[in-house]
């Protein structure tokens, strides 16, 4: 089995337009959530979100590119460019043939769908732009990444709601580990912050109108975010031979299905994914110092997740830290695990644990060290990142330093 390392990272999200800005915000416990700004927001009951601000698409992409790139694709390409620049990789010849792109998204080009449904249904237009289909399709971002960087191997998109990017990164990891691929661009992207996107979530009544407060007894729901997190995963010997900077090693991955309920999480499903990732990584649970929680800020997720962690880790659960950075950047749905991986890289490389902000009051059902409100310095050896999706599909990655 090959070892798999991360040699590049990129992002754009509510906390920043690159990794440095995002990690700085995580260190400072800054909140990127604010009033939503888009057409018809006054018709929504939920008006807050982790929106990407200060972003001018026309300064980055030309008119013809914008005709084809939905916002989720734009975010993906921006983050991929950063990750590729950091990795220093160039894809040609046999390396290009053995490298690919696996990305996660849930809504894909949802903004494009929303705008065009509005045009034909509300405005009564009978003609839509010819690129609606190639712009909205869920694999558009993966395809544009493959085109921009000449990745000619296995490439596809996975959609498992809130676990999409963890499933994507897990796939990329396994493809390199088995020797099928040499390098992969992976992660995820989401852009659902438009009228239809938020209206649909509003219907489920799990969204908060004020703030995302994971694990706090006062929590009252989730807040949506948007953006992308993109990474270059690379076979260890290949990275070492070219002298690449290694950000972390991906040690293990597991995925499970609750096979129970379409929205309610299951402690057993989550626990099996966590213990599965540890078993896959062949690491003792006592080595885990930090868990980046799924931590959505809903009543159901947070208590179920804490119970699952307590079950898996036993007495060690009281020694590890677990935080939810969704309190700062919101829930990026299909892109969330990818942006949250940046908190894991920060923990491993800088010894700084991102906090769970907006924490007000302990909840006896979430009685773990959730790193409330302020970042903490701590040396950690192994970290986990959890994602538990609607539909009961769970994906957990284990990472460590090389």
């Amino acid at each position: 089995m090959k070892r798999v390392v991360i040699t590049g990272a990129g992002t754009i999200n509510a906390l920043g337009h690159d990794v440095a800005q995002t990690q700085e915000a995580m260190r400072e416990g800054r909140c990127g959530i604010g009033e939503l700004e888009f057409r018809d927001v006054d018709r929504l009951a939920i008006r807050i979100g982790g929106q990407v601000r200060g972003y001018d698409a026309e300064a980055v992409f030309n008119r013809q590119q914008l005709a084809l790139y939905d916002r989720f694709t734009q975010f993906t390409l921006l983050a991929a460019r950063q990750a590729m620049a950091q990795s220093g990789l160039e894809f040609s010849g046999e390396l290009a043939n053995k490298s690919g792109v696996v990305l996660g998204t849930s809504g894909g080009g949802l903004t494009t769908q929303d705008e065009n449904y509005r045009a034909v249904y509300e405005e009564g237009k009978n003609r839509v732009h010819p690129f609606v289909v190639p712009k909205l399709m869920n694999n558009a971002a993966a395809s544009h990444v493959s085109m921009e960087f000449n990745l000619r191997g296995p490439s596809f998109t996975v959609a498992t709601a809130c676990a999409s990017s963890n499933h994507a990164m897990g796939q990329a990891f396994q493809m390199i580990r088995t020797g099928m691929c040499t390098a992969m661009i992976t992660g995820g992207s989401e852009s659902m912050l438009c009228f239809g996107g938020v209206k649909a979530w509003e219907g489920l009544r799990v969204m908060t109108k004020d703030a995302c407060r994971p694990f706090s007894a006062t929590r009252n729901g989730m807040v949506q975010g948007e953006g992308a997190g993109i990474f270059v995963f690379e076979e260890y010997e290949h990275a070492k031979a070219r002298g690449a900077t290694i950000l972390a090693e991906v040690l293990g991955f597991a995925m499970t299905s609750d096979a129970a309920d379409i929205v309610m999480p299951s402690k057993q499903g989550a626990a099996r994914a966590i213990s599965g990732a540890l078993a896959d990584a062949r690491i003792d649970k006592t080595r885990v110092g930090y868990v980046n929680a799924h931590g959505t800020g809903t009543a159901a997720n947070d208590k179920t997740e804490c119970a699952a962690v307590a079950d898996v880790f036993g007495t060690h659960a009281d020694k590890l830290m677990m935080s939810s950075t969704k309190s700062m950047h919101g829930h990026l749905i299909g892109g969330t695990g990818a942006v949250e991986l940046l908190a894991c890289l920060m923990a491993l490389n800088e010894g700084i644990i991102a906090p769970t902000i907006n924490y007000e009051e302990p909840d006896p059902e979430c009685a773990l060290d959730v790193v409330p409100n302020e970042a903490r310095e701590a040396e950690v050896d192994v970290v986990l990142t959890n994602a538990f999706a609607f539909g009961g599909l769970n994906a957990v990655l284990a990472l460590g330093r090389v």
Binding site: Q64, A67, R127, H129, P130, F131
Partner: protein, 86 residues
Amino acid sequence: MDVKDQVIAIIAEQAMLEPSDVALDSTPEDLGIDSLGLVETIFAIEEAFDISVPFNANDPTASDFDISSVAKIIEGIQTLIKEQSS
């Protein structure tokens, strides 16, 4: 702007050229407009004149609409405007 100038302006924008650089005898290919670009051009023309252009991207040469040169495109548009406004 008359129909001719408007069509040239749409084609020029698609080709990222100045309208003065769009010669009447050039083909879409000469101007660097690929198949996807041609579909987008037709869409922009339909929007501008509120007409329906019988253009089939599966096989553009088999369409009733002649796209062999800028002049032919303009001619076709003028005919369609007359037909579809009556």
